[in-house]
Amino acid sequence: MFQAAAQKIRIQGHDLAYRRQGLGSPLLLVHGITTYSFIWRNLLPELARNHDVVAVDLLGCGDSDMPLDQSYSIAAHVERLEAFTQALGLGPFGFVGHDIGGGIAQRFAVKHPDRLTHAVVMNGVAFDYWPVQPIITMRTPIIRQLAMAALDLGAFKLIVQRGVFHKERVTPELMSLFWKPMLTRLGRKAFLHFAESLDNHDLTDITAELRQTRIPFLILRGTEDVYLSAEIAHRLHQEIPGSRLVEIPEAGHFFQEDQPQRLVNELETFLGA
């Protein structure tokens, strides 16, 4: 599935897993909730032609460690990824974030502006559109759905199917990639801990800073994404000066599955600009 083998590096006392491939300007691919680096598998070889591509598993996801006493909040991920990219020796790099990863990209851009050359938010969370207050996390419908998904492959498949436009692409093989972390009790706990750790203050706090950023932003949206509304992408485009908005039809929330080539093209266009 992946051309690049998984590697691990110890960051702040825990191992982070990642895949690295290609030569060129560095590019960091960051996934969101319910996925891990596998979501980039159809894009990574293409991007690796012109870039030194690193696809990371966030702490608590994929093959990375799953400590339950560490925060998986966006702010915590930002600091961890800064340490991670430093440890890998990456120079200023392009940050591509999907879903929660898109939120991390925004916060990374305002917290470590000199580390980024570009920022891409793909079907990303932003502002307070992430309807989560920590105190009631587990009782919000979306989290309850995720909780059910952690326990039941059928429920998980519903989530994935709703997130993919081309339903026929939700094969058992794809599901087994999504489901893999749910096979262990620790994986399930980490998954729920991830969901619970999300605090929209991490994004509402940086709204003002975001308006000031000089980093080029690309905002990509799958028009069929049922999880995150068009309003988020449109407002991001409005708030971030000079940002570019591309809306891709026939693409759901997991649009790496729906339109991988289109995404590669958009990214190359944006990064090459």
């Binding site: 339950l68 006493d69 587990m138 309850r144 909780a147 059910m148 326990l151 039941d152 009790r185 729920l192």
Partner: protein, 725 residues
């Protein structure tokens, strides 16, 4: 508010109600889903701890409860046998629950605890190091069979007791599912344990059986007797052979497979004689533990019949009744038995003949003695003298017959010495040839390297004579060939069945073979088997003692005897004599030379008074004196009384009471130098052997002539006895 606004407010209220209802429905649907997931977990798990942890996880995740555990009492503490903490790796649990003394555990029913309740029940309540009582907790009894004190505990720091109360029925349902599953698992585990034990036991039993079967199969197959297992379930007839061993297959000449398809009847042959009850009928009357033991005739596959010793018993096997039969081929034993019978008969006839001959000898001695005295008294021309001479001649012929009877009995006179049979044959050639008719060619084929045998020359001469005359007579008037053959034989092994007639058991070694063959009329099987019987004769004038004597002599010589014959072809008699030199018999002392005509006094000891009388008459008619004793004891006493007077003792060997040998020994004690002459109708080798070293001075074979007695007395009795005689 405007009507529109009122209307809007109303709509919003209704929407709110609908949302609430929707939410309740969604929650209800989620609860049902959760119960489904819990049921799924309880259905697949076999490890109770893992199953509990999975169920706790599902309840905690889906009901957003941060902690769940299954608690069991252990002294004053409660131990979490399984637990789930949403924020903690399972391996790191170190929670503490200690009951207050006043608290009763488990609670009678599911309860929700507020912090105050919690404080009343627990002395210590610490999860993840947080010692403060939680705002709400639920305790639900889980009294499954093996752990009646078990309870489920759920704790959440963001829930109120009321919120927990709403969930309580759901948690109780979960507890019911767990409880049923745990009881089920316990039963399954017990069943599995029992199954395992049973499997082990069965495996062990099978192994035992296998070993046992192998052991019995070895026994079964290696028993030298035929073993047959015959279906005998239906009364009235014995049926199919169910099992047979290798020995049975070999004995009856069938393969085992064929044998196991046969009916037992196929092996039976008609018995030798009428029987009161058949073997089968006797088997049917058997009581448990009894056996039938019988000799039967059985038939081989090739039709030949042979005798078996059969032992039968009824056995029960797998609920069916079987005849278990052992059969032993007793052909050889039967042959040996018959040979033994024959030997025994020969021996008993021999004893009889010997006894008769002994008495006859005494009587003949008396007749011959008295006749001799009468002849001496009568003048040459006296009337009746001729008759007395004829009487004496007849008595002498009678004596010859008794000699043959004694020879048959093996108790004839023996004079054992090394001798060459060729010489013996040649010495008697003239006599032999005179006994053979002119038209019969007499062929001698004598092995010149013949070693000497040990024997009595006159007895062996009698053997050769008898066989040659027999052969000649069987040829009769027609021309024919009679041959006598000697051979030296070195036998590495002897098949004694080939030499059945002497009754001796030959041991391997060197032998001399004497074969007398004729081309005469031959013998039928019936005649052949009886030809050695005493008094059996096919000749009009035969006494039936000739071949009996041959048999007796060869038996006494430790030899072998065989005969082959075919009617119209002829007969061959074969004698086997062991080569060897016996110990030399007691050397006879050199007779003391005494002048004849002196008067002697003879002590005569014999248990027969007519013998005493004839000896006295003979001695007195020739001027000698006699002292007569009817027993050994009397004779010893008389010698003791008048030792000087007695010149010689004539002692009978065979007497009741003190026998001849013992009497001789005692006589010698009384008067050590006294000459003793022994007389006997039979002087067996053993008797002579016993007398060895006792310085026997002479031996008179009964019946003896008066002249023999007088010669013995006159040559042996000292004229002048030694001083301390």
């Amino acid at each position: 508010m405007t009507p529109d606004a009122e209307n809007m407010q109303d709509l919003q209220d209704r929407l709110h109600v609908l949302e609430k209802e929707n939410e309740a429905l969604a929650e209800r649907a989620e609860d049902i889903t959760m119960l489904g997931l819990v049921a799924e977990q309880t259905g697949i798990g076999t490890d109770p701890v893992e199953m509990l942890a999975s169920v706790l996880e599902r309840v905690c995740i889906l009901k957003a409860i941060s902690y769940g555990a299954c608690l069991e009492p252990a002294g004053p503490h409660l131990v979490a046998t399984a637990h789930y903490h949403i924020r903690r790796d399972d391996e790191l649990a170190a929670d503490l629950f200690k009951l207050r003394d006043s608290a009763s555990w488990p609670p009678a029913e599911a309860v929700v605890l507020d912090p105050a309740d919690c404080g009343r029940m627990f002395e210590q309540f610490s999860i993840e190091g947080q010692a403060a009582a939680p705002p709400a907790a639920a305790v639900v009894p889980l009294p499954y069979t093996d752990h009646p004190g078990s309870c489920l505990l759920f704790v959440d720091h963001q829930r109120t007791p009321d919120e927990f109360r709403v969930m309580l029925p759901l948690i109780k349902r979960v507890a019911d599912l767990i409880q049923a599953r745990l009881d089920n698992l316990r039963l399954v585990a017990r069943l599995e344990r029992l199954n395992l034990n049973l499997d082990l036991e069965v495996a062990e039993r099978i192994e035992d059986l296998r070993r046992s079967e192998a052991r019995y199969r070895i026994l079964f197959d290696h028993v030298p007797d035929a073993v047959l297992l015959v279906d005998a379930d239906a009364e009235g007839s014995l049926g199919r052979i169910e099992d047979a061993n290798e020995a049975a297959a070999a004995m009856y000449g069938y393969s085992r497979e064929d044998l196991e398809r046969l009916d037992i009847e196929a092996l039976s042959a008609p018995g030798l004689g009428p029987r009161l009850e058949s073997f089968e009928a006797r088997v049917w009357r058997l009581q448990p533990g009894e056996t039938v033991h019988e000799e039967l005739q059985h038939r081989r596959k090739d039709g030949s019949v042979f005798p078996v010793e059969a032992i039968g018993t009824l056995v029960n096997l797998h609920g069916r009744q079987y005849l278990l039969a052992f059969a032993r081929d007793i052909t050889e034993r039967k042959q040996t038995e018959q040979a033994m019978l024959k030997v025994q008969r020969t021996e008993s006839v021999g004893v009889l003949a010997g006894g008769i001959a002994h008495d006859f000898n005494n009587l003949l001695t008396a007749i011959m003695g008295q006749t001799g005295i009468a002849l001496e008294l009568l003048g040459d021309q006296a009337p009746g003298r001729d008759n007395l001479v004829k009487a004496q001649s007849a008595a002498t012929k009678a004596a010859t017959l008794t000699q043959q009877m004694l020879a048959y009995s093996g108790r004839g006179k023996f004079d054992i010495q090394p001798l060459l049979l060729n010489d013996l044959i040649r010495e008697n050639l003239q006599f032999l040839e005179s006994a053979i008719p002119k038209q019969v060619s007499f062929v001698q084929d004598l092995d010149e390297n013949l070693p000497p045998v040990t024997g009595d020359p006159s007895q062996l001469q009698q053997v050769v004579m008898n066989l040659v005359i027999n052969g000649a007579e069987s040829i009769g008037e027609a021309p024919g060939i009679l041959s006598i053959r000697t051979r030296r034989l070195q036998l590495e092994q002897v098949d004694n069945r080939e030499w059945p007639l002497s009754g001796n058991t030959l041991v391997p070694g060197e032998f001399v073979l004497v074969e007398v063959q004729d081309t005469g009329c031959g013998m039928t099987e019936e005649v052949r088997t009886r030809v050695f019987d005493p008094f059996f004769s096919t000749k009009p004038k035969g006494h039936g003692l000739g071949l009996s004597a041959v048999q007796g002599i060869i038996r006494a010589h430790r030899g072998g005897l065989a005969v082959q014959s075919e009617v119209g072809v002829g007969s061959t008699f074969r004698i086997l004599l062991p080569v060897g030199y016996p110990e030399s018999p007691a050397r006879r002392p050199v007779p003391r030379s005494l002048a004849q005509g002196s008067r002697r006094t003879v002590l005569v000891i014999d248990d027969e008074d007519y013998m005493l009388e004839v000896v006295r008459d003979v001695l007195e008619s020739h001027g000698h004196a006699s002292l007569l004793a009817l027993s050994g004891e009397q004779g010893i006493e008389m010698l003791g009384r008048e030792p000087e007077r007695i010149d010689l003792v004539l002692l009978d060997l065979t007497m009741p009471g003190l026998g001849g040998v013992e009497t001789l020994r005692r006589l010698r004690k009384v008067t050590p130098g006294i000459p003793v002459v022994l007389s006997s109708g039979f002087a067996a080798e053993e008797a002579l052997g016993q007398l060895k070293g006792l310085n026997l001075d002479g031996f008179l074979q009964k019946p003896y002539l008066a002249a023999d007695l007088l010669r013995m007395v006159e040559t042996l009795a000292p004229q002048v006895r030694p001083e301390n005689g």
